[in-house]
Subunit: 382 residues, 2 copies
């Protein structure tokens, strides 16, 4: 059967394909971006599910833009995060859907989109499906090289969208500096593009709060959020805030896409996100445990993988390692034989091939398992 | 902010807009396509949720194609329905997502798509977003006028897709006859198009089983199913079966769209759909209650609305009424003043304007309320 241009334009996610390999029980997987099962509030979710299911509305269709109670809570959270009033939020089926709907609402085939290099693979897939012309901009330890972007803009590039995982980057583990956030917002105003600030990890700061969102500095920012990394992926609750005209278009396209997100999982999310006492304690616990795992990971890397550079995690779930001289795509099957999985850097590459890099998720396992994973990786790499 | 061609191509759903008006407590709404709250198995869902949430996998990400246990159950159900082996099924976030993903996987802008006239509004929105050229074909009491479609094909029309709500049509309430199903399947083979057999209502037959699906007669059929009308909309569980190449493309595009459907709601659906004793009793109860409501509706129409023709419901949720000489769009505000809501036929129109028609959902209320709704409608119409 002949397929559409869109279907032929999307590369499969090497990561999703890898998950099959790394899910073998003898393999410790550092490959997935999975929240740790032991850090998700399953009992609290069960209580919220039982409470929600006492009401008939919990199993009925809901408004396309989302459960009103959830939208109110999310708008309050976003207002606090951005330190300016966020009056409206549209709930989506995970923040992946928010990204897809923004792309569908704004992009025509051939439109220019700036992506980070390396990039979140799900973003690349969305922009490929939209037929966008991708313009990669590299990252360094302070996140997106906004200076390089500015050079491109001066040279005439006119993107519709600039996508950034601004905080605790996937896969690079870095955070866009406050100065660059201000500068990026200024460029959006000057050159008339929209920043898509994709922020599923911002609540997982190990120490203090991350910098103010880019959205704090400009109206030309669409902010995407997610309950997947802080509560549970299976809620499939994401959200976006941004320019009203864009939100209206996203809501209309969401009618086409899935009518509405589950009333049940939205009710659960609303319950947990409005329960400040629970949420504060829960997030503190997740942050502390994840920080400890990150420390265990970087300590083990320093000890067992000399010569390997490793991003310094300050939040989120990922470290980015550079193994000089090592072909990490070739390393992967050897690593799997040694019982450890990771994602080769090439899976995230847009232009720069990243042959020596790997992404490791340190968040999914307790410290002793993390240590053992790094030992196995070291044995495979030598 | 400038929007994409897709966003500018989609008409808002008049029905979703109407729901706001008809949700006022003093209005009896026959407008929505909502399953009756009292007929949904909320307690059984709560038990399944509690059981699922005993396991960590219930709140984690899942495979894009769906929870394996659910896919197995659905493939078995589809095999029984189609009386031929259906080996593979992809789970979607409601069958609306299945429709959207099929359109994205197959259609390029300008491709021809045959739609029913009047049509399911959600299908029109999907094909508008895909930039398709819509070719309406009328319906009669035996469903899609396959003879008219054949005329168009002989005249040179070459659609990529032909969309049909084959059984208990939304909005027309009719069912495609067995003969036409065979003929439609034959045309798909001869002219090389794919039939999208959209079947959310087929399990709601009042008396006996509906005709064999179109998919029983050809491999060139994508069948869409849904748990929304038989279990609960808030599960957001739909599915599709069809040609393997198309399913693979749908799975890839689903990665872009929402990564996966909720593991929790899939586990609930798998539990209920695999529980044959529960499911048989539940469906029998829903069918009997809905049949009784349909009977109450048609009886009340015959009594209170002389001269009005009404489709003869044999399953599903909708009746289609023709009120000769009445402008039903103008009637709606008067009807709302009288405390009853419906959807004017024009909301479903593709080419034929349907000025005198209305769609009524008889499934959402018990018999006395249905009676009262028709009495109010009669007062508004005279």
């Amino acid at each position: 059967m002949p397929l559409s241009t869109a279907a032929r334009s999307v590369r499969g996610s090497a990561i999703r394909d890898l998950l099959a390999l790394t899910s073998r029980p003898e393999v410790i997987s550092l490959a997935g971006g999975l929240p740790a099962a032991d850090l998700m509030p399953r009992e609290r979710i069960a209580a919220a599910a039982a409470a929600a299911l006492a009401h008939p509305a919990s199993i009925q269709y809901g408004e396309t833009a989302g459960l009103p109670a959830l939208r109110v809570v999310l708008a309050a959270h976003e207002t606090a995060r951005c330190r300016r009033e966020i009056t409206d939020v549209v709930v989506t089926t995970g923040s992946q859907q928010a990204l897809d709907l923004v792309a569908r609402a704004v992009l025509d085939p051939g439109d220019a989109v700036v992506v980070e290099d390396p990039a979140y693979v799900g973003a690349l897939q969305v922009f490929q499906a939209a037929g966008a012309a991708l313009h990669p901009v590299p990252l360094d330890g302070d996140g997106l090289r906004v200076d390089v972007l500015e050079d491109h803009l001066r040279d005439g590039l006119r993107p519709r969208l600039v996508h950034t995982v601004s905080t605790f980057h996937n896969p690079r583990g870095v955070t866009l500096s406050p100065q660059r956030r201000v500068r990026l917002a200024g460029l959006a105003e000057r050159y008339g593009f929209t920043v898509v600030e994709d922020d599923p990890y911002g609540l997982l700061a190990f120490d203090g709060a991350p910098p103010l969102p880019v959205a704090a500095h400009s109206d030309r920012v669409v902010r995407l959020g997610s309950a997947s990394k802080v509560l549970a992926p299976a809620l499939r609750v994401g959200w976006l805030s941004g320019p009203p005209g864009l939100l209206a278009a996203v809501e209309l396209l969401k009618q086409c896409t899935d009518l509405c997100t589950s009333s049940l999982t939205q009710a659960i999310a609303a319950d947990l996100l409005a329960d400040t006492a629970f949420l504060d304690a829960h997030l503190s616990g997740v942050r502390a445990a994840t920080a400890s795992r990150a420390h265990a990971f970087t300590t083990a890397v320093a000890r067992h993988l000399p010569g390997v550079t490793c991003s310094a995690p300050t939040g989120g779930m990922f470290c980015w390692l550079e193994l000089p001289g090592v072909d990490t795509t070739a390393l992967l099957p050897r690593a799997l034989e040694h019982g450890v999985g990771f994602v080769p850097g090439g899976a995230f590459a847009v232009e720069a091939p990243q042959p020596h890099a790997i992404r490791c998720c340190y968040a999914s396992h307790p410290e002793p398992v993390i240590h053992e994973a790094v030992r196995r990786l070291a044995r495979a790499a030598t």
